[in-house]
Symmetry: C2
Subunit: 112 residues, 2 copies
């Protein structure tokens, strides 16, 4: 996805990267989930995000890792244990989307 800079007053470019991330179906959900739980393991996330496939989860986690929004810690145990948690940047992001989430909830309520 490419978003060019505009010739106009406001520059929308910085939005480019978040959008690519956010536009992934489960991204916000994962971040929110981690925001509520401190640390979660792969299958924890599989349960919380009902309906996600292991592949999609793996893909997303990798992307969020690359973006520096989450961290991964693997323990050399048997059975293996891996924990995911938000980085500081991820926490900031989590707070940044709070108004959005609240707006969504509010809107949701008004419609019922």
């Amino acid at each position: 996805m490419t978003i060019k800079k505009n010739s106009n007053g406001i520059c929308l470019c910085p939005l480019k990267e978040i959008i690519t991330t956010i536009s992934k179906k489960w991204a916000i959900l994962i971040i929110s989930a981690l925001g509520h739980h401190d640390r979660l393991r792969f299958n924890d996330l599989m349960n919380i995000l009902e309906g996600i496939s292991p592949k999609s989860l793996t893909d997303l986690l990798k992307e969020l890792l690359n973006e520096g929004l989450i961290n991964r810690e693997a323990f050399s145990e048997i059975p293996p244990r891996v924990e995911y948690f938000l980085t500081d940047e991820g926490k900031q992001f989590c707070e940044a989307i709070l108004p959005l989430v609240q707006w969504a909830e509010n809107r949701d309520n008004l419609r019922r």
Copy 2:
């Protein structure tokens, strides 16, 4: 796109709809642009959002209309003139994503 409710504490369901909207590549950009300009015409948007195709813009505008985030006013003139602007809900949305936009800008700056 389907997002089931989870069995867990937090309900992520209200996020479902915004995500479907937000996940459209140009949605946030259009809203932001309209948030900065009061009223914009089709070609104004085409210019501000450099790179968008008329088809994509049309599609998105329709969707945002359906979502009730923007309004459309057509003037019976020749050549035709059509103006788009945010609804109250759209303005609220615009404010709701402000922290996100700012987070993105900030992050963008730190990286250079």
